[in-house]
Symmetry: C2
Subunit: 153 residues, 2 copies
DNA sequence: TTCTAACAATTAAACATTTAACTATTACTG
DNA sequence: CAGTAATAGTTAAATGTTTAATTGTTAGAA
C-alpha cells in the first residue's frame, strides 16, 4: 500500500462524518427558524430542547435533563438560568435530596407546549417526503448502533 | 384523531433527531479523546476540523474554510486566531482580492498531518466493525438527501 | 458511629457559535 | 466614470460548551 492509498483509505469515514454534521446543523437551523417565527420566539434551539423534555416529563432534576438532551451538566446551569430569567421554568432544591434541584414548568412555560406540535409535524412530514418511514427507522437504528460502538471506545 | 394521537404522531421524528445528535457527539468525543492523547494535544476538535481541510487543500480563504467545516464565517475568526496563536497556520491578505485572507499551514502545521491517519483509520474500522460498508454508504446517502430537503425549507 | 466515596450543581477559564452591523474591497450597472 | 450592490472578514453582544476543581449532600463501608 502506497502512502496515497493509505491516506485515501483512512479518510473513508469523512463523507459519513460530514453528513452527520450537516444533518444536525440542518435540524438545528430548521427548528430555530420555526421557533423564531412562532410565539416561542424568545427561545433558542438549546432552550427549546430542554423545554421539550419538560413538556413530556413535567419536572426533572438537572442531571436527568442534561442526560435527556445529551449535554454536559455544566452546560445546563446557564441554560436553566436563562429559562428562569424568561419565566418559563422554576428551580428549587429537592427536599428529599438536597444535592438535586427540581426544574418545573411555569404556567407560561406550559402554554408554550401548544406551539410545538405543528413544527414537529412539519419536520416529520418533510423527512417522509424524501424517504419512506422504513428507511428513516433503519437510519435511526444504525446510528444508535454506531453510537453505542463508538462511545465504548 | 384524539389529542394524544396527535401529539404522539408529531413526535415521530424525535428518535431520529436524538440519534443524529448522539452520533455527532460520539464522533466529536472520539476524535477529541484521540487528539488529546496524540502529539496534536494543543488542538480542539474544532481546530482539528479546520486543519483537516488545510492538510487536504494546503491553503484556502476563510470563506471556503467556513463552508468546508459547515461553520459560520464569524466563527472562523477566533478559530483561526487560535490556530495562528499556536503557530499552526498563517493568515495573509490575498494580493489578488483584498477582501480575502489566505490561510496557509506553517511547517509545524504540516508536521501534524502525520498524526491524523491512525485516528481516522481507527474510527473507520470501528464503524465497519458494527455495520457493513454498504450500510454505511447508504446512511451517508440518505442523510445527505435529507439535508438537501430540510435545508431548502 | 466515623470516615470515605460518590453524587449534583456550580464556578472559572478557555473555547466556540450566532446574529446583526460594520468596514474595506470588488463587481456590476447605467 | 459614478454610484450601487455584493462580498470577505471583523466586531459586539448574547448564548453555549468543555474541563477541572470545588462545595455541600448523601450513600456506603468498616
Amino acid at each position: 500500500m502506497t502512502e496515497d492509498e493509505f491516506s485515501h483509505d483512512s479518510a473513508h469515514a469523512r463523507p459519513f462524518i460530514d453528513a452527520v454534521i450537516g444533518m444536525r446543523l440542518a435540524i438545528k437551523q430548521f427548528y430555530h427558524q420555526r421557533i423564531r417565527k412562532s410565539e416561542m420566539s424568545d427561545l433558542t434551539y438549546e432552550m427549546f430542547q430542554v423545554m421539550v423534555v419538560l413538556w413530556n416529563k413535567r419536572e426533572a432534576n438537572q442531571q436527568d435533563l442534561a442526560n435527556a438532551v445529551q449535554k454536559n451538566k455544566a452546560s445546563l446551569t446557564p441554560l436553566i438560568d436563562n429559562l428562569c430569567k424568561r419565566d418559563l421554568v422554576t428551580r428549587s432544591t429537592d427536599a428529599n435530596d438536597r444535592r438535586n434541584n427540581v426544574i418545573r414548568l411555569t404556567e407560561k412555560g406550559k402554554l408554550y407546549e401548544r406551539y410545538i406540535h405543528p413544527i414537529q409535524k412539519e419536520f416529520y412530514e418533510l423527512l417522509l417526503s424524501e424517504i419512506d418511514e422504513e428507511d428513516l427507522n433503519a437510519v435511526t437504528r444504525i446510528l444508535n448502533k454506531l453510537v453505542g460502538r463508538v462511545s465504548t471506545e
